[in-house]
Symmetry: C2
Subunit: 122 residues, 2 copies
C-alpha cells in the first residue's frame, strides 16, 4: 500500500486496515483468538474462566463478532443446561501467525515501553 492508497482508505468503511483493526483492536478479541488457538475447542464457560476478568456480556459480544467475521465457529448442542462450543475456522487460523508477530514484539518491548511511559509522565 502506498501513501495515496492509505489516504484513500483512511476515511472509508472500505479500509481493510480499519476493518481488521476495529475487530482485533477491541478489548478482548485478540485474547479470545489466542486462547482458542491453545484450547482448540472450548465451551463458553471455559473461555470465561480462562480470561477471568471478562464479563459474560462482553464475551457474548466478542464471540458473536468473531463468528460474524468467520473467524470462529459456534456449535450448539441442543441440551439443557445448554452446551455451546467454539473453535477457530481456517480463516481464524490464518490470522494467528500475524498476531503472534505482534505478541512477540510486545513481550520483547514491554519493559522499555513501560520505562518510556514513566519518563514521559514526568
Amino acid at each position: 500500500m502506498d501513501k495515496k492508497e492509505l489516504t484513500k482508505y483512511s476515511n472509508a468503511e472500505q479500509c481493510p486496515v480499519r476493518n481488521v483493526v476495529d475487530r482485533i483492536g477491541d478489548k478482548w478479541s485478540l485474547l479470545v483468538l489466542l486462547l482458542l488457538e491453545e484450547g482448540e475447542v472450548m465451551r463458553f464457560m471455559e473461555i470465561q474462566k480462562a480470561i477471568e476478568t471478562i464479563s459474560q456480556k462482553m464475551l457474548t459480544v466478542t464471540l458473536k463478532a468473531l463468528e460474524a467475521d468467520g473467524l470462529v465457529e459456534r456449535t450448539v448442542y441442543p441440551q439443557i443446561p445448554p452446551k455451546v462450543e467454539y473453535k477457530l475456522t481456517e480463516r481464524g487460523k490464518s490470522l494467528l501467525p500475524h498476531l503472534h508477530g505482534l505478541v512477540t514484539w510486545a513481550v520483547e518491548n514491554m519493559n522499555n515501553i513501560r520505562e518510556s511511559r514513566k519518563q514521559f509522565a514526568s
Copy 2:
C-alpha cells in the same frame, strides 16, 4: 506463551499483549504509524490532511500516546505559527514489519469477511 501464561496475564496491566493491543488497537495509531513510515518526517497538519477524517483532538491524543511509548519522536521548532515534526523512532520502526503482516492479511481477507458479515446478519 502457553495457556497458563496467557491466563495469568489476562487480568493484569502487566499483560504485554494487552499493553500493545491497547495502544495499537485504538482507532488511529496504526494508521498514523503506517503513514509516518511512508512520510518519514511529517508535520502535524500534514498528518491530519493525509488521514482526513481524524479530528485535531484525536490526532493530538494519538501522537502523544505514541510519543509516550517511544514509538514516535516529536520535534518542536520555536516559531510562530508553530512547527512540530513527527517521525518514527527505532522502536517504532521495529514494530512496523509486524503491522504489515496484519495489513496484508486484512487486504487479502477483507472481501470474504464482508461476505461473512452479510450472511451472518441475515
